[in-house]
């Protein structure tokens, strides 16, 4: 482990949004690593900076208002932030690809799905029409789309949500990328389809050896997919640990709060209400002083409102951004 450098190494990434003279630190000092063939789960509430982190990696932050103001993103040992737009285009879809949340809107409605998957191949590889088509059919088989040859010429609106997400995955895998960024790929799907898609992604990951950055707000999904988990809150990584450690011994009060908010089926305490984390996520324009979670934290003490915690290592590979562990 020590001699192999990770596939993706994000160091102190800072992505800020400049809106009407104000600065929103959407991603503030985020450091993450993903090793080859592994899945990193990125969990957090809406607006905590998960998607912004993902978009920063392939530099799809809308500029203006967004800007990556600091940090480094090493992919295969090379800093992506030094790359020109032209170099980035060669990486997007080819080495790092993305799967989106909404299969309903992430496919272009006026082109057939076969064309759209073929487009990725056309952009990055010189193949004849015939070869491209064969490749697309092959991809469709691999992502489990039945009757691939017929479905190739269908349009997105003729397919179900699950099928469309399979098409998106086929698109993401078409050029055998080293890494896939999955931005809540199952959120818009119903539970049975969700399970199928997750199984498919796990299987494809094993087949291709690609790493996955898996973004979700569903801890259950993370448990099924990820080897490492980063919990984000208001643009910062609050807790970062191997998946097993995180689920067996969560350290950060926010992570613990999240775990307790998961309803348990057949729980004995039937009459008890589902526990929640009180309060709301602070506005990025108006962050509290000290620890960002201090306003909602059950274990808050005086220093929390003054000192901004660093990431403290409680054990190997397990860091927590909380003064309790300082």
């Amino acid at each position: 482990m020590t001699h192999t450098s990770p596939l993706l190494d994000i160091v102190h990434l800072q992505t800020h949004f400049f809106v009407r003279g104000q600065v929103a630190k959407a991603v503030d000092n985020v450091s993450l690593t993903i090793e080859s063939g592994k899945t990193l789960g990125l969990v957090g509430e809406s607006g905590c900076g998960k998607s912004v982190t993902a978009h920063s990696i392939i530099q799809l932050i809308p500029d203006p208002p967004g800007k990556i103001v600091g940090g480094e993103i090493f992919f295969n040992g090379k800093n992506l932030l030094d790359d020109s737009e032209k170099e980035m285009r060669k990486i997007r879809g080819n080495q790092i690809s993305m799967i989106f949340q909404e299969p309903m809107t992430s496919l272009n409605p006026v082109f057939s799905v076969g064309d759209q998957v073929g487009e990725v191949i056309r952009l990055h590889q010189k193949l004849s029409k015939r070869e491209t088509r064969d490749r697309v059919v092959d991809m469709f088989h691999r992502v489990g789309i039945p009757a691939a040859e017929q479905r190739l010429d269908e349009y997105p609106h003729q397919m179900s949500g699950g099928m469309r997400q399979r098409v998106m995955i086929a698109m993401a895998l078409a050029c055998s990328p080293k890494m896939m960024i999955a931005d809540e790929p199952t959120t818009a799907l119903d539970v049975t389809i969700q399970a199928q898609i997750l199984d498919l992604m796990n299987k494809l990951k094993q087949d291709t050896g690609a790493s996955i950055l898996f973004i979700t707000h569903d801890l259950g999904v993370i448990a099924e997919m990820a080897q490492h988990v980063a919990v984000m809150y208001a643009g910062r990584v609050m807790e970062y640990a191997p998946a097993e450690t995180l689920f067996t011994s969560p350290k950060h009060p926010y992570t613990i709060g999240l775990m307790e908010s998961i309803p348990v089926l057949g729980s004995k305490k039937k009459t008890e209400r589902l526990s929640t984390i009180s309060g709301v996520v602070p506005s990025l324009f108006n962050l509290p002083e000290g620890c960002l979670f201090s306003d909602r934290c059950p274990d808050v003490f005086a220093d929390c409102r003054k000192i901004s915690p660093r990431q403290y290592e409680t054990e190997e590979h397990h860091t927590v951004r909380c003064l309790k562990y300082a």
């Binding site: 392939i58 203006p64 992430s106 272009n108 990725v120 698109m171």
Partner: protein, 278 residues
């Protein structure tokens, strides 16, 4: 599309438009006479159903003895060329400006759209007159003038649709697979904006015909002896009491062509706009 077939007025419009186009294309085969050939013996002959009319000149002749029907048929050609060229110019430039403005937003958007606003702020006929006065009166310059004045209406529509489409995931998806901006704008986004664009194009054909006629009427467009409807009307102003047919028929031709395109365009809009569907 089936929506369009069921729309009776749209079908009537389409019928007129196709009639107009067929006439323009087959003008040499359809017209009984040479449209510019003068005949001193046949000046101001009334239409054939008139007591002094003859079947030689079905719609009569003008003050130089030219056959009006033939001139109308060739006039369809002129009008079609003018409208295709000027609307084509406006379509190409407007789509380019509008999509670039909508896609890149920011300063570029402001600059382009303010220029469009400036063009819009001029009364279009005045602007056309300025262009023609600068370049000299001819049909080509009239086409240019009309084309330029129509750029903003296309630019605005395209910008609006592109802005709307840009927010959708498939645009981000297109970027995430490594497509370049040019490809994203013209191959991914624009095909999704075609609906309103097609409608605007059809409706613009109608106004282009009308505007070309207006410019020619003012002597700034087609020059004699080109058989252009507006110019025909202008020439026959003095004759309106003596030989009303010389003015009436080109007027009816303009009316029908414009009406046809407008009906068709309205029908298209109804068919393409999901909000107007029942």
């Amino acid at each position: 599309m089936s929506q369009l077939w069921r729309n009776k007025t749209a079908m009537a419009g389409m019928f007129i438009v196709s009639f107009f186009i067929v006439t323009a294309i087959f003008a040499p085969l359809l017209s009984p006479h040479d449209p510019v050939e003068t005949s001193l013996y046949d000046q101001l002959k009334p239409p054939m159903w008139h007591e002094n009319g003859s079947s030689q000149n079905i719609l009569g002749t003008d003050d130089l003895g030219r056959d009006i029907l033939s001139r109308l048929i060739y006039g369809a050609r002129v009008s079609l060329v003018v409208s295709v060229f000027s609307v084509g110019l406006a379509f190409a430039m407007g789509t380019l400006f509008g999509s670039v403005a909508g896609y890149y937003k920011g300063k570029l958007d402001s600059v382009i759209m303010r220029i469009m606003d400036i063009i819009l702020a001029f009364p279009y006929l005045l602007l056309a007159i300025v262009v023609v006065a600068y370049l000299g009166p001819s049909l080509q310059n009239a086409m240019m003038a009309i084309g330029i004045t129509y750029i903003p209406r296309f630019a605005r529509i395209v910008r609006g649709s592109v802005l709307e489409e840009c927010g959708k995931d498939y645009v981000t998806a297109a970027r995430s697979i490594g497509a370049r901006d040019f490809r994203i704008i013209f191959l991914a986004i624009l095909p999704n904006c075609l609906g309103p664009l097609i409608v605007q194009t059809t409706l613009s054909f109608a106004s282009a015909i009308l505007d070309a006629a207006a410019l020619s009427f003012l002597g700034l467009g087609a020059q004699p002896p080109t058989p252009e409807w507006g110019a025909m009307i202008a020439r026959s102003r003095a004759l309106i009491l003596r030989a009303s047919w010389v003015m009436t028929f080109p007027g009816i031709a303009i009316l029908l062509a414009v009406l046809g395109f407008n009906l068709f365009g309205d029908g298209l809009r109804d068919a393409l706009d999901p909000r107007l569907r029942d």
